[in-house]
Symmetry: C2
């Protein structure tokens, strides 16, 4: 705060951690104006360096965008994995926690979320991005695998399909209802409640009935 303008003097000629600072500034702008709403030039101004400086760290604007998406998926994968926690203490509860982690990420990291899903990065943008995406999906898939392991062979749908369903449900709710003020309609439930109920009904359909009187979905809060 005391080193306002240009913040020279903080470190002099060399910034020291410029690429990190550029990413943070870009995230701020994306959070405010969406993935299309940040410019390379604006980012340099926010950080207080010359407009040519970023080119030492990123080939161009798109490379910065892709790196942000990659970082987003890394964090996302970490968050989902932490929620799953190898299915501890109990697979069903852990599974629900994964869903809630999905929503929490969309809400708390809107800039990453937008960079990951709304930046329209061409499919094969970078190997690192693809790998990070796969890792995040892998957590979901592993959770579905574990959760359905107990079902009798005859009526156990492929875990791949189930994980795609779960991804779609969580993503749909996060996209439509889960961000700050986007599409805030008159809905008498939180996104979290909505997803919880959606998952319960879906799992019921799979034959993973979750003892409906287990959770307070009765009249305890009416």
């Amino acid at each position: 705060m005391n080193t306002s303008k240009r913040s020279r003097g903080r470190r002099g000629y060399h910034h020291g951690n410029l690429s990190e600072a550029l990413v943070q500034a870009a995230l701020d702008l994306i959070a405010k104006f969406g993935p299309a709403g940040f410019s390379f030039a604006e980012v340099t101004r926010a950080v207080g360096v010359s407009p040519a400086a970023p080119y030492r760290h990123f080939r161009d604007r798109d490379a910065l965008m892709a790196d942000i998406a990659r970082r987003g998926f890394e964090r996302f994968a970490d968050a989902l994995a932490a929620a799953w926690d190898s299915g501890q203490p109990e697979p069903l509860a852990a599974f629900k926690a994964v869903g809630q982690a999905y929503l929490a990420f969309a809400r708390n990291e809107p800039a990453y979320f937008a960079a990951m899903f709304e930046a329209r990065l061409p499919p094969g943008t970078s190997r690192e991005l693809t790998q990070a995406t796969d890792r995040a999906f892998g957590v979901l898939r592993q959770a579905c695998e574990t959760l359905t392991a107990g079902l009798p062979d005859g009526q156990r749908p492929p875990a791949l399909m189930i994980s795609l369903h779960v991804w779609a449900m969580a993503h749909g709710i996060a996209s439509l209802f889960g961000r700050g003020d986007s599409a805030r309609r008159n809905i008498p439930m939180t996104p979290e409640q909505l997803l919880e109920a959606n998952m319960l009904i879906y799992l019921d359909g799979l034959g993973l009935g979750a003892a409906p009187n287990d959770d307070g979905n009765g009249d305890s809060n009416s």
Copy 2:
């Protein structure tokens, strides 16, 4: 095709149907480059009018965008209503048709879909837009209402919640897997199959069991 350059002579000084032409040109650009990837100037070039011409029809770029989103939701509502067809000939089949119509719209009208859901238009942009959105959702909700009418009172969740779930499932699948080449992973099912299965499992969970041997989901295609 014969009136290339500027297409003057087609109608001379007055275009006759400019606002329509502007919308179409914008849709083409949105389909190619996303909602952020079209400029007012580029649209006028595509249509062959001066850069000042659009201002007779749209207050500014955002007004054009909002009008496109509104048109999109009108068509969307029409498509869903046509698929539902008042639940004829049979509610469950009609309901599935609504889901398929959702995917078909996302695939066949990617520009409208993007304008509707990815343009980041501020919530209260226009009353017409809000009304069109509500009409589309109303179709979904009515379908859910009809479909669940037969459930015993005790185990019938609110139709509002169910319609939100259905919207989220369809929207999640459409967003993640349903557009041309976006996020095309190695998935051994079409979005349509994925949604069909998702709906069946979900409806099963609701107690609307759909006689699983009704449709060819067994080994007939293995």
